[in-house]
Symmetry: C2
Subunit: 327 residues, 2 copies
């Protein structure tokens, strides 16, 4: 099932993906080699281009009449890459997309400034839409994402994060950008506010599902699948839904044991394996997957207002893929 779903999507989006890669390459155009190196290290290291693909197919589903959907789609990949660069510096994580994080190859200041540069490029292209509402959405994305990161940083190491606080963090960290990409497609295609809100809702639920699935993979995938060691969130003291759910339901002894594992960079593999088993036993994996699946269902329901089309099918497949994917 998983492989089929991925193959179906790949078949449908391959021509778009090639255009997106080309547009990313062409629009990087910095004057400085160093910026190009740092930005390329991240941009061309096997990202899924989820955000550009969502934008392109959302625009087409809305009947976008212009010719710039590929160019405008990369706004959201540049925004995404900019925040990844800043987050890497902020988190101090060593690996990203299976490669050393940028800040382990270059000094942090250069990485921060390259993030700023990518943000500026995103803005440059966004200005080309000549649509103030698109700029407002992008401003909101940037504001929410930076606030979400600061919030997450402030909560780091807290062992009493609630599910609501977690939802709030992942909304700002991930959902806001995916929601914004979908909404901007609707704005540029000039659909009704009702249809725009439907796409916004689709993006929100998809983003929530994607982040939950990501957080889940940190407990369920192998190092090879992830491109980094699983359990990284826990070792960094970052609480995500599987652990939040488990902490709230574990017996005092187990809770104490889990709390001791958190924020410990040297948890040994046998301990981590025991934790994985505990999460399964406490139903935390199934619970997280169920919540993610509900978001996917809501995402798909949001699209009911739209007539059937190839692009609507692509969006629906991507939504399914969000929770069924193994990597």
């Amino acid at each position: 099932m998983n492989k089929d779903l991925k193959e179906q999507i790949v078949d449908l989006v391959t021509p778009d993906l090639e255009k997106v890669e080309q547009a990313l390459e062409e629009n990087l155009s910095p004057h400085l080699d160093l910026v190009k190196q740092i930005a390329s290290h991240l941009l061309f290291s096997g990202g899924k281009r989820l955000r550009p693909l969502l934008f392109i197919h959302a625009a087409r589903m809305c009947g976008y009449k212009g010719t710039n959907e590929v160019l405008f789609s990369i706004i959201f990949e540049f925004l995404h890459a900019a925040t990844l660069l800043h987050d890497d510096v902020v988190d101090g994580a060593d690996m990203r997309r299976g490669r050393p994080a940028a800040h382990t190859c270059w000094p942090a200041p250069q990485v921060v400034l390259t993030g700023d540069f990518l943000l500026a490029r995103a803005l440059d292209i966004a200005a080309g839409t000549k649509e103030p509402r698109v700029i407002s959405v992008i401003a909101k994305i940037t504001r929410d994402m930076s606030q979400g990161e600061i919030d997450q940083l402030a909560q780091k190491g807290r062992k009493d994060l609630t599910e609501d606080q977690y939802l709030d963090i992942i909304e700002r960290k991930t959902a806001v950008l995916i929601q914004g990409a979908c909404q901007c497609a609707a704005i540029l295609a000039k659909v009704s506010r009702q249809k725009e809100n439907a796409l916004k809702s689709f993006g929100f639920h998809l983003g929530m599902a994607f982040q939950m699935a990501d957080d889940l993979l940190d407990y369920t995938a192998t190092a090879e699948q992830l491109g980094k060691n699983p359990g990284a969130d826990m070792r960094e003291g970052k609480l995500t839904l599987p652990l939040i759910y488990s902490l709230a339901r574990a017996c005092p002894k187990d809770r104490k044991w889990m709390e001791n594992l958190m924020a410990n960079p040297d948890v040994d593999p046998s301990q981590f394996k025991k934790l994985q088993e505990k999460l399964v036993a406490l139903n935390a994996i199934a619970y997280t997957r169920a919540i993610a699946r509900t978001h996917v269902d809501n995402a798909k329901k949001s699209l009911e207002i739209y007539d059937s089309s190839l692009s609507k099918s692509v969006l629906t497949l991507i939504a399914d893929y969000a929770v069924y994917r193994k990597i």
Copy 2:
């Protein structure tokens, strides 16, 4: 003379300044206390509000008919503050505006993200202009500034920086933002392209003069006037015009001696005093001041296309102040 000039400007802009302070306060509106603390530390620590004042008076000189000149003016203060926060982290400087730099009070990641947040706020307000060309100018400012910083970082410690390379760096570091503030005022006031270019040119020359005067003060002002120890640029290995000019004209023995002082964080005051005397003897102070003054003259000439008005007088006074100020 100096005091008179400053007093004249203060008299003319005090009512605007109060409105700018109020708008900055009202528009900071973050959800998080930490962001507010970090942003306020920098924003409300005695900045000159040069960029908002330039914007407001440029808009009025252009006959701007709207009612948002104060609100839009703070775009440029937020942009300025955002880059100062990132620069502080990048430079690792300890003092800023006479207070400890933000990154010495808070962890660098929070400071970086607060910079991102301020950039997002600037963008938010800019989107409210509903003028795509304003967004393009802001995108260009952000891009040039981040590239300029990266460039400066890459050149740091180089002892063979040329005058042209220096001019290029300060253009992107300082002039582009001031130029952009003036140009956006013209765009929003819907003047002719010729008048817009005149204001853009005014901003460019003013920005160049301001940065040169700033760089000069690092060799000529006292610690009390500066709010930090003079000679900071040199100790950080940052070459500016007075030293570039001197290095090119010193005898080999003196050049060797100056090169040894550079990038040395522990230069003692008597050595620094000797360097100051050397710069005077080599005519470097007078040369830098003359170049800055030429930029001020060009800035003022750029405004000839505009009829006389109170705001034109304010802009002219500010241009004079750029090189005659003592702090």
